[in-house]
Structure formats: structure tokens, C-alpha cells
Symmetry: C2
């Protein structure tokens, strides 16, 4: 068995498995944010996509913003985060798509301003979780509408057993996940990572 | 007249005044995020609160998360972001408050998990905007429920003419804003900063 990496160790130490295939990592990833730790994950994303001409990181509010910013700070690029609803001071001139949420069992209209995404952009999509892949497909759809090139997708925790990641890989998406969970069991509290 | 600081210059260069006292800074602050620039603002917050024993940064989703993380990375502390609704994998065991939104004309129930905020915490509250002060009062309420000490409040852009910031200062809050707008005029496109 390969040695566990930084994020895999952190998941085993601090993650809590709940029924319904929910992995709670809100002590360091998506409620409380362990910023020095996520900054280290950001360095790993920078290395993983070092051969790609990335000029912008694309993510989605809210829990993607932290890891996206802490990756962008190492890469020296801006972050653009897709918004889940049109606020009163949001331009009407937006790309829009619909994303189903696995966690919240709802559908969100998600938008980015046309001003900040265009055919000259080479984006790296970053998110905290990938389960069925709907959020990433939505972000790729927004990039596609803008004519932007998706250079890669960087995920902290992929739920491999839900299949979304492998479906994206089959389509040729340059997807890299720092930890892929093959199996987890709320009863025994065990997690098996893909090697 | 004093020389303009980094953020004031950026607001004049890239901000757009809209009717209804709306200042759009979504090119660098709250949609697209100019990460290297916000990291510099984070350094300024670190200097401004250097004399306080801060062990955690508290902010609110979504647009506070970027600047909070890019401040925390310099201070070496975690970020805790308050969530606007209870998701299905959120603990029931939360502190909750209600925050009125100036921008969206609605009221949000805002929560933090009791696990991540307690009487031992010395928090720095960070947010992108301060207008009527409702978001900051809500975050201070959450900290108060936890028995945590609020060491300070750091704001990027304060709309001084709405009075929320001065009301907080009158109550003794250690509030520092990087740019305070005294007046702005959508017709002429002019902005006057407090010196």
C-alpha cells in the first residue's frame, strides 16, 4: 500500500463519515478553513498543473472559494467564482447554467459575468468536492459558453464510488483529485482511498 | 489631501458607481477576485491588527471568504465562515442569527457550528463591504453567543455615508476600514474618500 498523502491523512484524522454517503470535513475544508493546510494543497495543485498555461481559476461559491484563492495565490492568477443567484447588483449580461446539488437536493441557477470569462481565457477549475460531477459539468458549461479553454480540473476530495470523476476522465477532462475515496462506511468509520 | 492608498486607487480605477448607492467592484473583489491584490490587502490587515492576539478569522459567505483566506494566510490562522442556510450535512448544533442584506433586500438566517467557535477564541472579523453594518452586527452576535472575544473588525470598503461603521465605532468596536467612501455620485462618477 502506498503511503498516504497530506490530504488523505487529514481526512482520516479529522473527517467524519455520516449516513447517506456524506463525509464531513467542515473542521478544515468547507466551514472552518485550515488556511495554512489549504495553502499547502494549493501548492500541490500548482505543481499538478504546472505544464498548463492557466491564466484564471474558476470555482463556485461558497466552499470552492477558499481553496481556489489559496491555489491562485501561488499561481499569481485571479479567481472567478460562479454565483448561485443573480443579486440586485449583478449584471444582466451573464452566462448561466443549472447545477444539481448532491448535498442539498436542489437545483441552482449559476452565473458568471460575461465580462470576466472569454475565449482568451485558459481556466483551471478548482473545487473542494466532486461527487456526481454536476458542479464541474456546470462550470465547464459556463467556460464552454464563453469559448474559454479548460486546462484542467483540480479537486480536493473525489468520491470515486459515485462515478462522476471517472465519467469526466472518460470524456478526456484533465482531472486531478488530491484524494479519491473508493469506499467509506459510516458504520465502521473506515475509508478506503484509490491508490 | 493625503495620497490615496492601494485600495482607494483601485476603486477609482476599476469601481463602477450604479444608482441606488451601489458600488460595483466585481472585477477584483466579489466576483472576479484579484488574488495577488487581495493578498496585499491581507498584509495590510495583518499590520493593522498586529497588536491583537487573533487566533481565528470570522467572515460570512460568499464574498468575505476570499479576503478572509488571503488575510489568514499571512497571519497563520484558520478562517470560519458563517453559512447562510443550514445544509443537509450541517450540524444541528449551531449558533444562529439573522442578517438583513442591503444589496439583496432580504433577511438570511446565518449559522456557525458550535464546534468551531467558543469562549477561548479571539476573532478578527473580516468582510469585503460594510454599509449599514448588519452583517458585522450579525457576526458579532454569533461571536457573543459563543463567548468569543472580538479583537477587531477589518473591512475593505466602508460606505461611510450609510453610518453603519460610525455606529459600531461609537459602541467601542475596533473597526478599521481600508477605504471609507464619504460620498459617491452615479451621475458624475465621482467618489470622495474619508481622510
Amino acid at each position: 500500500m502506498a503511503e498516504l498523502n497530506l490530504l488523505q491523512k487529514k481526512i482520516l484524522a479529522d473527517g467524519v463519515i455520516k449516513s447517506g454517503d456524506v463525509l464531513k470535513v467542515d473542521s478544515f475544508l468547507n466551514h472552518q478553513i485550515d488556511v495554512p493546510f489549504l495553502s499547502e494543497l494549493g501548492r500541490q495543485f500548482k505543481r499538478l498543473f504546472a505544464n498548463r498555461p492557466v491564466n484564471k481559476i474558476l470555482t463556485i461559491e461558497a466552499s470552492g472559494i477558499g481553496v481556489a484563492c489559496l491555489t491562485a495565490v501561488h499561481m499569481g492568477v485571479p479567481v472567478l467564482f460562479a454565483k448561485k443567484s443573480a443579486g440586485s447588483n449583478m449584471d444582466a449580461d451573464v452566462y448561466a447554467t443549472e447545477i444539481k446539488s448532491f448535498t442539498h437536493h436542489n437545483v441552482n441557477r449559476v452565473i458568471v459575468s460575461k465580462k470576466y470569462l472569454n475565449a482568451a481565457d485558459h481556466v483551471l477549475i478548482i473545487d473542494d468536492f466532486l461527487a456526481n460531477g454536476c458542479a464541474i459539468e456546470g462550470l465547464m458549461d459556463l467556460a464552454g459558453q464563453a469559448g474559454a479553454t479548460v486546462e484542467g480540473v483540480g479537486i480536493c476530495i473525489e468520491k470515486g464510488f459515485q462515478g462522476g470523476g471517472d465519467a469526466l476522465r472518460k470524456k478526456g477532462v484533465n482531472l486531478k483529485s488530491l484524494a479519491i475515496i473508493e469506499k467509506m462506511d459510516a458504520g465502521t468509520g473506515t475509508i478506503v482511498f484509490r491508490e
